[in-house]
């Protein structure tokens, strides 16, 4: 009984300490003026690795998710003779939910795990300690560019995902199933609001970007510096980031669209 209680207490203290170390890491990386000019090549490298290299998986997934949405939506809507509402169905489900959430999940798997493994390996091979020896702050040289790259790139990726998904829905709905093209776009325009839907989706993906990036960086920075520790940290990044995204998605949806 007492042992169980002790385990619970230890787990709680460990997780709170984890939050504290993550917050300290982000604070240390962002404290002071970011040296965008001096460290420009570092930043551009991370934007390339995190953003551009994630583009392919985002575009392909967005296209297929848009196509599947149109296909599934059409079968139900055509029963009610409401094929005209296919455009709003695809656009609203992408902009409000699927765009931000699926992008965040893919981003956690594609870029987040890579960030964790990279930083974990830097720690295991004592590159981070080497930097400290040379009076280079690893938080600002290693963490800060990756943090900004993740936080900036993921909302952009989500926007691309949404646009490609809507075009994919157009491809299936209009070109294959024969929904009227004018109806697809005009019903979409009549039902999608720039602030209510597009902007809230962007805000969602900004929150997810922060969550996923911080979790990935923290797990890598905090990894046990062995090959086993790095593999565990990478797994934890994907699991924790996905759960955090889904949990926060519910809260954000309830706040934005629930009332």
């Amino acid at each position: 009984m007492l042992d169980k209680l002790q385990q619970l207490g230890a787990a709680t203290i460990a997780s709170v300490q984890g939050f504290g170390r993550a917050a300290l890491m982000v604070f240390g990386a962002l404290w002071g003026r970011p040296r965008f000019v001096k460290a420009w090549p570092l930043y551009i490298k991370q934007f390339y690795v995190v953003g551009v290299l994630s583009l392919l998986i985002i575009v392909v997934s967005g296209l297929f998710i848009g196509m599947v949405l149109a296909l599934q939506g059409y079968t139900v809507l055509s029963k009610f003779g409401a094929e005209q509402m296919l455009g709003p169905l695809v656009a609203l489900s992408l902009l409000r939910e699927l765009g931000p959430v699926v992008t965040a999940l893919l981003f956690a798997g594609r870029a987040g795990s890579a960030l964790t493994a990279e930083i974990g390996l830097m720690k295991a091979t004592e590159q981070l300690s080497g930097m400290e020896m040379m009076a280079v702050d690893p938080l600002r040289r290693v963490i800060a560019p990756r943090f900004w790259a993740g936080v900036v790139c993921m909302p952009l990726l989500a926007l691309i995902f949404n646009a490609v998904g809507i075009l994919g829905g157009h491809l299936v709905g209009v070109d294959w199933l024969g929904v009227d093209a004018g109806g697809y776009w005009s019903a979409m325009q009549a039902n999608v609001d720039l602030q209510e839907d597009v902007l809230n989706g962007v805000i969602k993906s900004m929150v997810f970007a922060f969550l996923v990036t911080v979790i990935a960086l923290h797990k890598g920075f905090d990894a046990v510096p062995t090959s086993e520790g790095i593999s565990q940290a990478t797994t934890q990044t994907v699991v924790t980031a996905s759960l955090a995204v889904l949990g926060f998605d519910f809260v954000l949806t309830a706040v934005m669209f629930g009332g």
Binding site: I44, L95, L159, A163, Q189, D193, D197
Partner: protein, 155 residues
Amino acid sequence: MTTRKLEILVGAFVALAIAALLLLAMKVANTGVTGSDQSYKLYAKFDNIGGLKVRSPVKVGGVVVGRVASIQLDPEAFQPVVTLEINSSYSNFPETSSLSILTSGLLGEQYIGLQPGFVDENVEILADGDYIEDTKAAIVLEELIGQFLFNRGNQ
């Protein structure tokens, strides 16, 4: 890879994202068909507005000329007062025009149909802030069924 090459690729990525945002803003969302600065307001009192909502369209012969800006209840007459924002490019409706609340299709959303009236020398053109007097209330299905049953009972 050189920094220049990376910069070009990152630039292309950001440009793609901006293009996606523009597509979403211009083609997917309605960025205010009636710019608020280029519209004028008309008011109308209805007996019953049914399921009319703020931002419902105002149509003349099927063409959207404006939107419902707000719906309030007149505290003395207990009648709903609907504020319409009409695009100023349609600024010559006579005061004999009438409004009715219609439904697009059997299950569709409700909108306001504006029927332009006749014009002669005594009729003025509606301007900002005018009331449209001739309005027809929304058809409430329950009342319609109730009337039908009542008539059947009398026979």
